[in-house]
């Protein structure tokens, strides 16, 4: 009993005890799989067959592999364009929703819909919209006499890239918009009142009040948005499976194709591992975004 009492009174021991479950969860479900995945990237493991350590052979092949190079380009392009669009449109939507509108809560709820629908389902809807034979978009434009043949949304490499980006943006905007809206609501109205008295234009208010105060939220939201986009899988898998001519293969879909369908677990893991530096870069970017905020507030960091 004495021991138990002593334990209960020891801040250190209790602290460790309380942290234990979280630590175990982190180690078991995050560190271990990540470590295993990275390790597999350095082996020639096949599905169900243990691999031999082969050093950086997978990586040295992948950097020369034209399909992997294309997938890397696609991923960076996809992430960059989609993220910029999601940020611009999401911020715009957030600013609109922050105004006093009739049915305010209704609109705020409805905006979330694309985010709520499972990606695989919305992807199937887009698949029909983009279908080479049955696209309702092409059909409508034809009826209006604006085009004379169906648009090959997913059959032309660049069309396919932009089509998948549009689908991703549609799905990603609500997350950005709602998160930024939450950020906007934390900004005290007194700043706007004061600046209005000083004669600031709406643009000046946005530039010198809204944007600086929103920066920390933007940093966090865009980090997540970039991570989600960079690792996108479902949308591509349903719409194109990486085609046409591998023009929409992302790192994640290529990793799956090589590792699971093709059985080359080691190589697939190596492709997945290649994504890590880019993801780290995105996190660092956000970290420094946060730093800037501290400096702006005159904090001691």
């Amino acid at each position: 009993m004495k021991l138990l009492e002593k334990f209960q009174n020891s801040r250190n021991a209790l602290g460790w005890a309380f942290m234990l479950p979280a630590t175990v969860l982190l180690l078991l479900f995050l560190t271990y799989p990540l470590g295993l995945g990275t390790w597999l990237g350095f082996t020639d493991a096949k599905i169900g067959r243990d691999g031999e350590w082969i050093g950086v052979e997978n990586f040295s092949f992948l950097v020369t592999d034209s399909v992997t190079q294309l997938a890397l380009f696609n991923t960076l392009f996809y992430t960059f364009v989609a993220s910029v669009l999601k940020f611009g449109l999401g911020l715009w939507l957030a600013l609109l929703l922050n105004k006093n509108l009739p049915f305010q809560s209704f609109f705020r709820a409805v905006v979330l819909l694309p985010w709520i629908v499972p990606t695989a389902l919305s992807a199937i809807a887009f698949w029909w919209l983009y279908d080479a034979q049955f696209s309702v978009i092409s059909w409508a434009l034809m009826k209006m006499g604006l085009i004379d043949r169906y648009i090959d949304f997913l059959g032309d490499p660049w069309n396919a890239r932009f089509s998948t980006i549009v689908a991703n943006v549609w799905r990603g905007i609500p997350f950005v918009a709602i998160s930024l809206l939450a950020g906007l609501q934390t900004i005290s109205p007194s700043y706007y009142e004061a600046s209005a008295i000083d004669g600031a234009t709406p643009w000046q208010q946005f530039r010198h009040i809204t944007l600086p105060l929103l920066t920390p939220i933007i940093a966090v939201v865009m980090t997540f948005s970039v991570l989600f986009t960079f690792t996108d899988f479902q949308l591509i898998y349903v719409l194109t499976r990486g085609g046409p001519l591998n023009a929409t293969h992302l790192m994640a879909t290529l990793a799956f194709q090589r590792a699971i369908s093709g059985g080359a677990l080691g190589e697939g893991a190596a492709i997945a591992t290649l994504m890590v530096p880019f993801l780290l870069a995105a996190i660092m970017f956000s970290y420094f975004g946060l730093q800037r905020r501290a400096w702006q507030q005159g904090g001691d960091k």
Binding site: G48, R49, V67, A132, Q133, I260
Partner: protein, 442 residues
């Protein structure tokens, strides 16, 4: 008949049952079926777990489960059947094989058995028995499941054939009474169809099943991914010729084929947007069962044909192959083998093929006589799918390399690149050569 004598004294209930049922069988089977004996004594208290790909047509699983029930009634062996999408069976089977746990019997696809042959039970006795009884196995079955020419590592089940599906009236309008038998005529037909505004269309996206026509195309012109010693030889004059042919074909296609995945050609065909494509019997099946009068109206006009034969002069078809593997880790090897034997016997296999409605082609010659192939003349071309099949790793040995190269769409991508003009035929072939060499590296 030394085989017969050696086994004669082992003769047991199974053999007698088979012989007895043979006697009761329909007369149509009499000339094709040769009485054989095989005695497999299932272990006491045996229970089996079967993992199979989930049905493409409802009739398949219905007939399969009837047979399973019959087996349980006859032997008292409980059989549990799990279904998974066919593309998901592959990774699961590999894990089961290598961890030594999981289902006793796995029905899987293509070259799966060649990935872990030493983890599979030797089923030579069952295969020899069935082969002798039912007129022999088709050559492709042997390539897949008897890689060393002696030992069987799995029992062939069949193949899901993809054939030429076309609109008879459109062909007539374009000046063709019958479907061309060779690639020259085929191209002329495609061009004529295009000129009439009723083009054909073949999937050039990353379509796992319907993209297989690209294998036919390369082989029909004499190209191949690897030679018999697994040396990559795709960058060859024959391949270039095939790719030039593909370019001419593509010029006649309906728009958007580069984006086509497996379902696209079905949809386009049933909407009368293409008048010829490659597909399983599912388009015809849909026209028979659909509620949409526009689709059922097509029923009479839909026709099937074998793939045209190219300059090589022999059929070079590529279809989805199905195997049945008994895992070495099973506790009931005899029960498992007996199960497969039972399912492959005419009393069970014939109704199952019928249930599949022409979707699956048989691996054993005698089943060419199954009524499903003649009950509707439109079924007939699908009969020979496995007979004319070449494994996707042709002409090399099957294994991780052939599986990986297939899953990575190397040939499909090459044909798509050259056909669409994104790359010259030579560039496309060189790229495919480089990509394939990675998989076939020693």
């Amino acid at each position: 008949m030394t085989e017969f004598n050696r086994r004669k004294f082992l003769e047991g209930s199974a053999g007698i049952a088979a012989a007895a049922s043979f006697g009761a069988g329909a007369a149509v089977w009499a000339p094709a079926v040769h009485a054989q004996t095989l005695s497999l004594k299932p272990e006491k208290g045996a229970k089996l777990r079967v993992l199979r790909w989930s049905r493409f047509v409802q009739g398949d699983i219905d007939a399969y489960m009837v047979n399973v029930k019959k087996f349980t009634e006859k032997t008292g062996i409980e059989v549990r059947v799990d279904n998974e999408g066919w593309e998901d069976v592959r990774p699961k089977a590999a894990v089961a094989a290598n961890t030594g746990a999981g289902p006793d019997i796995i029905l899987s696809t293509n070259d799966d058995a060649n990935l872990y042959p030493d983890k599979l039970l030797d089923v030579t006795d069952v295969c020899e028995y069935l082969g002798k009884k039912y007129g022999g196995w088709y050559p492709a079955c042997q390539t897949y499941l008897r890689p060393d020419g002696k030992k069987w590592i799995g029992v062939p089940l069949g193949a899901a054939g993809a054939m030429m599906v076309y609109r008879q009236s459109h062909l007539k309008a374009a000046g063709f009474d019958v479907f061309p038998k060779d690639t020259d005529g085929f191209l002329k037909m495609l061009q004529a169809l295009k000129a009439k505004g009723t083009p054909g269309g073949f999937a050039l996206g990353n379509a796992t099943g319907d993209g297989l026509w690209t294998n036919w195309l390369i082989w029909s012109h004499g190209g191949q991914l690897v030679d018999t010693r697994n040396k990559v030889v795709i960058d060859s004059p024959e391949t270039i010729k095939a790719l030039e042919y593909a370019k001419a074909m593509y010029a006649t296609f309906a728009p958007g084929t580069l984006s086509w995945l497996d379902p696209n050609n079905n949809k386009a065909f049933l909407d009368s947007q293409v008048s010829v494509t490659n597909n399983g019997i599912s388009i015809y099946y849909a026209s028979k069962t659909s509620q949409d009068p526009k689709v059922t109206a097509l029923k009479e006009d839909i026709q099937h044909a074998s793939y045209p034969i190219g300059p090589v002069g022999v059929p070079t078809e590529s279809h989805l192959f199905f195997n049945q593997m008994v895992m070495k880790h099973t506790k009931f090897p005899n029960a498992a083998k007996e199960f497969l034997r039972f399912m492959m016997e005419q009393e069970q296999f014939d109704p199952w093929l019928t249930g599949c409605g022409g979707y699956i082609s048989q691996p054993l010659v005698a089943y060419e006589k199954t009524a499903i192939w003649t009950v509707d003349p439109k079924h007939t071309p699908y009969r020979d799918a496995l007979k004319n099949l070449r494994p996707a790793g042709y002409a090399g040995k099957l294994g991780y390399a052939s599986a990986g190269a297939g899953a990575d769409f190397i040939v499909t991508n090459m044909v798509a690149e050259a056909a669409s003009g994104a790359k010259s035929p030579k560039e496309a072939a060189e790229r495919a050569q480089k990509r394939a060499e990675r998989y076939y590296k020693v």
